[in-house]
């Protein structure tokens, strides 16, 4: 097989993930796009391992460690850990703030200005105590509707 096929597919999948990370608003969709990027890297690793382990038989210098496949397994395990921690963080943010939209989490923005579509004006230009109080109110509403 030509090496270009898997490598080009991997590059295109990675760029799809980049688009998703930059363009999505929901934090869980951003995590999905990160998974796409990790999978593109995995495909790269597997393709190069298949190429190099065959080239080793033809006298090509190669360490014979099957590094690509071992690293792919490690990447899959790390991605599983990442998605667990990421979802725990997103759920904690949702419980505290009542939203999982990363556009609205602007507490540490320096200019304090923000998107006009936040509706409640929760954190735009408000003081820290005020923002916390309104966020708590939102969380109460979210929990009351449960």
């Amino acid at each position: 097989m030509h090496l270009v096929y898997p490598v080009v597919l991997s590059a295109l999948l990675f760029c799809t993930g980049v688009y998703g990370v930059l363009a999505r608003r929901n934090a869980i969709l951003v995590l999905m796009s990160v998974e796409l990027m990790l999978n593109a890297v995995n495909l790269n690793l597997v393709a190069f391992d298949a190429w190099l382990s065959r080239a080793a038989r033809a006298g090509f210098p190669h360490d014979g460690l099957h590094s690509g496949q071992a690293l792919t397994l490690f990447t899959i395990a790390i991605a599983a850990a990442e998605i667990g921690i990421g979802l725990a963080i997103v759920l904690a943010v949702y419980r505290n703030r009542g939203t999982a939209d990363i556009d609205r989490l602007r507490d540490t923005a320096e200019d304090g200005g923000g998107s006009a579509d936040t509706g409640a004006g929760r954190d735009d230009g408000a003081g820290t105590d005020d923002a916390t109080a309104t966020a708590t109110g939102t969380g109460e509403k979210a929990e009351a509707s449960a």
Binding site: M1, H2, L3, V4, Y5, P6, V7, L9, A11, L12, L13, F14, C15, T16, G17, V18, L22, A23, R24, R25, N26, I28, M32, E35, N39, N42, L43, V46, A47, D49, A50, S53, R54, A58, L65, H66, Q69, A70, L73, I76, A77, A79, A81, G84, I85, L87, A88, V90, L91, A92, Y94, N96, A100, D101, D103, D117, T136, G139, E140, E143
Partner: protein, 237 residues
């Protein structure tokens, strides 16, 4: 062995077709406005990648991909979508305002990367005949002969991630207990378990009922228990 650039083999044609399906599913997954559909299209993309691993003779990794990604990661993502109350239908605000910039960056990166790798690996072929390079035997032998230390370190990392996820997602009981035990006996909590705000209010009412037997203190007890209930509510978040 001669290779023809314009005469693709059967494996290459299969790889190309599955790759088109995979890429299409990935694109739909990052562009659709229905959040649950995005997770389901991600299943198609990840399953297509498992088929690609099989075509590259990495059998063990293909099944690990099916088990972990399609089996557990997508289920976790769906749970996350449900727990954050994602709308079932089309949600108009799935994409943020910087969509155009994101599209520009992604297209530029795609053009640069594809041009680079095509130019670099124009004359490189993978020999796929012969024994498989990724059977369970080969993978296990290399993993437990050369990669034992990283493997064990990874198990510690997984344990740390598990503990971290549990710590992150449990409610803060210490705050609740501190808030309610701070009130001098008016609304004594039943225990350090995960009491809800409703439980705190019920305890407050019981305390008020006890205090009603002693007229004269009722107003004070009511105020105290109501205060404790509010503070317990606030302490939970």
């Amino acid at each position: 062995m001669s290779h023809g650039f314009l005469s693709p083999t059967g494996v290459e044609v299969t790889f190309l077709l599955v790759g088109v399906v995979t890429l299409g599913a990935a694109v739909v997954s990052v562009t659709t406005r229905q959040l649950v559909h995005a997770a389901l299209w991600l299943v198609v993309a990840l399953g297509g990648l498992a088929v690609e691993y099989l075509l590259l003779t990495a059998e063990f990794i293909a099944w690990v991909q099916v088990l972990i990604y399609v089996g557990s990661v997508v289920v976790l993502l769906l749970f996350g979508l449900m727990l954050t109350r994602a709308p079932i239908g089309r949600s108009p605000d799935a994409d943020s305002g910087n969509r155009g910039v994101a599209l520009g960056v992604a297209v530029a990166a795609a053009v640069a990367l594809v041009w680079l790798v095509v130019d670099a690996f124009r004359t490189t072929w993978i020999e796929l005949d012969g024994a498989s390079a990724g059977t369970t035997e080969v993978t296990g032998e290399s993993l437990f002969r050369h990669w034992v230390l990283p493997f064990e370190a990874l198990s510690v990392l997984l344990l740390a991630a598990l503990v971290g996820a549990i710590v992150l997602s449990r409610k803060r009981n210490a705050d609740v207990d501190a808030a309610s035990s701070g009130k001098a006996g008016a609304a004594r909590p039943a225990g350090p378990s995960t009491r809800t705000a409703a439980g705190a209010k019920a305890a407050g009412r019981a305390a008020a009922g006890r205090a009603a037997a002693r007229p004269g203190e009722q107003g004070a007890a009511d105020a105290a228990s109501g205060d404790a209930g509010r503070r317990a509510e606030g302490g939970e978040r």
